[in-house]
């Protein structure tokens, strides 16, 4: 039995892994190769009205870490630069050849009701399973009043969604841009417009690097550059937050979510699903490594289900949502302290200098009898910030151990020191509740 089989906004998929609307889904040959590799579905590269756009030469910028791993890419490519009919005929062809795979048609158009509706109908007639509205492209198309120019105006998000919903009977995914202040405003607008699902995030506005010889942003086009859309593992935390907000917001919690943003591994996908996503879309990872990476995404996610005893994705879908709360709902009496495992410590001193210079002077460094160095956590100074654990080069050498301080769960709104607290308690109670020593 295929444990990864799932349903996204009413569409059955053999697994939750779709390729996002982007260069990898631009034409027949790419999509067939993706399906041969095992991807459950694709969102076809965004279709527009003819004549097709013209793309620049020099399209991607890159953000490397110092070991030359790609942590992010930005691009200034526009939507498909092939005629609409060419794309639609290829979609029809692949729908016949790969009946168990999902194809979603991505679209954008100038802000005109008839144009939107006619394009949506043409795409639906090609046999796609659903339509995704590209309201997020942050470069080029927005200068023509499309993409993020629509996605940044809630009324237009609602309106374009409604236009499409009025003329097609297949699921509609409204794709959201992260280049706004509060993702909930756009998500609620999509819902009002009748969206079956939201897809997020689209790319983040960015300049990847500045070429210090040319003194120009990259990618550089004949000596000049423009801001592009940033994607890849670096944007995953931004995407997780936005997905989590929509999933826990009472107004939008019933919207289906197709999560996008820096998903490279099965674990990334599982995190989005735990935050409520029904499926995920991948682009950058495929561009970096090829379609074969889906192999481990599938195998890894299956292993995860087996290890945790989940019968299907829905068994853990959204399981983390209740634990995403506002800061005000956190237990301020919780206490955790760093513990350095001496056996695995390599004595590099990174924890010490990080704490000493930038935190709480809570890790001492002492020469020991055998000529090595001992690093010891001063519990009284440790505030449990986790920094030492993060900078330590050895996995699992530093662990954070919760302290049983016997104190009750207490939030900031209830805290005696909160000046805005409504019911003031006596100073004696304050001492007992916070456990602080005022002497």
């Amino acid at each position: 039995m295929n444990k990864l089989a799932c349903n996204i906004a009413g569409i059955d998929s053999i697994n939750p892994f779709w390729l996002a609307s982007a260069p990898p889904t631009d034409k027949y040959i790419n999509v067939v190769r993706a399906f041969e590799a095992g991807w459950g579905g694709v969102v076809w590269k965004t279709l527009g009205i003819d004549p097709p756009v013209i793309n620049m030469s020099s399209r991607y910028g890159v953000h490397h870490d110092r070991s030359r791993n790609v942590i992010g890419i930005n691009n200034i490519e526009l939507i498909t630069d092939r005629p609409l009919e060419t794309n639609l005929r290829e979609i029809e062809q692949i729908r016949k050849e790969w009946p168990d795979r999902v194809i979603i048609g991505s679209m954008m158009a100038p802000l005109d009701e008839n144009t939107w509706k006619e394009l949506a109908i043409k795409i639906a007639n090609s046999g796609v399973h659903g339509i995704e509205l590209n309201l997020g492209c942050p470069h080029g198309m927005c200068e023509r009043g499309m993409g993020s120019a629509i996605g940044q105006v809630p009324e237009l998000v609602e309106q374009t969604t409604r236009w499409v919903k009025e003329v097609v009977d297949i699921p509609v995914f409204t794709k959201l841009t992260p280049n706004i202040t509060d993702i909930l405003v756009a998500a609620e607008a999509a819902k009002r417009g009748g969206a079956d699902a939201v897809s997020l995030i689209n790319t983040v506005n960015s300049i990847a690097t500045v070429d210090l010889d040319l003194m120009a942003p990259t990618p550089t086009v004949d000596g000049k550059g423009t801001h592009g859309g940033y994607c890849g593992s670096a944007v995953k935390p931004i995407a997780l937050h936005m997905v989590g907000e929509i999933a826990r917001n009472p107004e939008t919690r019933n919207l289906q979510i197709s999560a996008i943003g820096g998903i490279e591994t099965w674990r990334d996908a599982a995190e989005f699903i735990a935050l409520g996503a029904s499926g995920v879309q991948v682009c950058t990872a495929a561009m970096l490594y090829g379609f074969r990476i889906v192999d481990d995404m599938i195998a890894g996610l299956e292993n995860f289900l087996d290890e945790k005893g989940y019968a299907s994705l829905s068994a853990f879908q959204g399981k983390a949502i209740p634990n995403v709360v506002n800061w005000n709902e956190l237990n301020i009496n919780f206490d955790t302290k760093a513990f350095i495992n001496k056996d695995s410590c390599i004595e590099c001193g990174r924890c010490h200098i990080a704490c000493e210079d930038t935190s709480h002077q809570a890790i001492t460094m002492q020469q020991n009898a055998s000529g090595g160095r001992d690093f010891v956590v001063v519990d009284d100074e440790c505030v449990g910030c986790n920094l030492c654990k993060h900078v330590c080069p050895v996995p699992e050498c530093i662990e954070m151990r919760p302290v049983d301080n016997g104190l009750p769960v207490l939030t900031w709104p209830e805290h005696p020191k909160n000046p805005l607290r409504v019911d003031i308690v006596s100073p004696e109670n304050t001492l007992a509740e916070t456990g602080e020593n005022h002497e």
Binding site: R66, S67, C348, G349, R350, I353, M365, R373, P393
Partner: protein, 444 residues
């Protein structure tokens, strides 16, 4: 070796190519990424010159390779030679924390070479600027690592330096003593040329202390004198027939080898016996093998733990086909005019003392290389105080004669390490600047 099994000229010269292939950029970045950028790093403490290793490796990672080289050279102007010749396995790399979790250290030596070579190959200006002229003149005797390091640092501080060198070329053991496969492409000369780029240093060659050069004269003509004269004499076995042809000091063998471009023109014995347990013995044995000797035996009178050669060097010898024989003390050389055999007595430790067992072993040989240590030629140093056969200095590198400083292998703390000699020269330059001229000691 060629497929016919016959050793060709190319085979022989190929044997003296780089022992360690230098890193390309990709390899350097990968290896640099293994460095944890330790705070107060143990590798810095393990380096006699105190190079800020984590910082220079970090600079390689940020692709500030020139900055990395400057970090190295600011503490060790011969960082290029040290990167090639240092026994890193017992110095910086032994202290590397990556032993603990990854089982092997960061290859600090190769990274250092990558950075320094980058700077030297980029043929830019000398990276350090000489201080304004102090008007002080310093004589340096010996253009080896200690002398040149002292000269460079003293020049940096603004003094004018005259170096007196006995040989026709500068570099000392870097030029004449290190194994050829550690110093390919005439690196010793390249490094000296670079070092002299600071300005204010003149080298005069073929100046022999005790012959055409006297300490008294130098004292009268210069504001200070630094002795970096190394150990000029070779210890002998003390056997009869030691003057048979075919019996050489290993140092001379290596020097000749280093000064010959086409190694295939050199003659080497068929059955070579090297006597000694230090790195010179190892270098001589391996190079004899690579010159085409059929059998090379390295004989040492004690156990492997007593050898001053590092484990890595001993292993290298074995990998090169050298037969390392322990507990053998030479007692007799035989031969008519040319050596034909050497007889050893097996040794053992009894009551803490090395004694002969009375059991003899004879090895056929046509070439014996003696590498049983060098010693100071004290006769040329007038009445300077000698202790333990070496020049006695105080903690400021001053000898017993006022205004005369010393460093490197010739001093009583000398360690037979290029990197220690460089540190001695550097410190002595600071010390004489401070004591004689009132220049504050400060790390540059």
């Amino acid at each position: 070796m060629s497929t016919t099994g016959k050793v060709t000229i190319d085979d022989i010269n190929a044997g003296f190519g780089d022992l360690h292939k230098p890193y390309n950029k990709s390899q350097a970045l990968l290896e640099a990424s293994r460095c944890t950028y330790c705070f107060d790093a143990p590798c810095i403490k393990a380096c006699p010159t105190g190079i800020d290793i984590p910082t220079f490796i970090h600079q390689i990672r940020t692709q500030n390779v020139k900055g990395a080289a400057k970090t190295i050279l600011s503490e060790n102007i011969m960082g290029g030679t040290c990167a090639r010749a240092c026994p890193t396995e017992v110095l910086c790399e032994r202290a590397c924390v990556r032993h603990h979790d990854q089982g092997k250290p960061v290859e600090i030596g190769l990274l250092q070479r990558f950075a320094v070579d980058h700077l030297l190959d980029s043929s830019e200006e000398h990276p350090f600027v000489r201080a304004s002229d102090t008007g002080k003149n310093i004589a340096v005797v010996g253009a080896g690592p200690a002398g040149l390091s002292c000269a460079h640092r003293a020049a940096l501080l603004g003094h004018k330096i005259t170096v007196f060198e006995a040989k026709p070329k500068p570099g000392g053991l870097n030029e004449y003593g290190l194994a050829a496969y550690k110093m390919v492409d005439d690196f010793a000369q390249k490094e000296v040329d670079f070092l002299l780029g600071i300005g204010g240093i003149e080298i005069i060659y073929e100046q022999y202390l005790g012959q055409n050069l006297s300490l008294e004269k130098l004292r009268s003509e210069f504001d200070a004198v630094f002795l970096g004269i190394g150990l000029g004499l070779c210890n002998q076995l003390g056997l009869e027939s030691e003057n048979l042809s075919g019996v050489y000091d290993a140092i001379d063998f290596i020097e000749q080898l280093r000064q010959t471009n086409d190694k295939s023109t050199l003659s080497v014995g068929q059955n070579v016996v090297v006597i000694g347990g230090g790195n010179t013995a190892i270098d001589a044995a391996i190079q004899a093998k690579r010159l085409g000797a059929k059998n090379v035996t390295l004989a040492y009178r004690r156990g492997e733990d007593n050898m001053t050669a590092t484990d890595w060097e001993i292993d290298l010898a074995r990998k090169n086909g050298v037969d390392v024989r322990l507990w053998l003390s030479p007692i007799e050389l035989s031969g008519e005019a040319h050596v034909s055999s050497i007889t050893f007595e097996q040794t053992t430790i009894e009551a803490g003392r090395l004694i002969g067992t009375g059991i003899h072993e004879k090895i056929e040989t046509d070439m014996v290389l003696k590498a049983v240590g060098q010693k100071l030629n004290a006769s040329v140093l007038s009445d300077i105080v000698i202790e333990g056969g070496k020049i006695k200095i105080n903690d400021k590198y001053q000898t017993s004669i006022p205004g005369v400083y010393a460093g490197g292998d010739c001093i009583d703390t000398g360690e037979d390490l290029t990197v220690q000699s460089v540190e001695d020269g550097k410190r002595a330059a600071h010390a004489m600047g401070h004591t004689l001229f009132g220049i504050e000691f400060k790390e540059v």
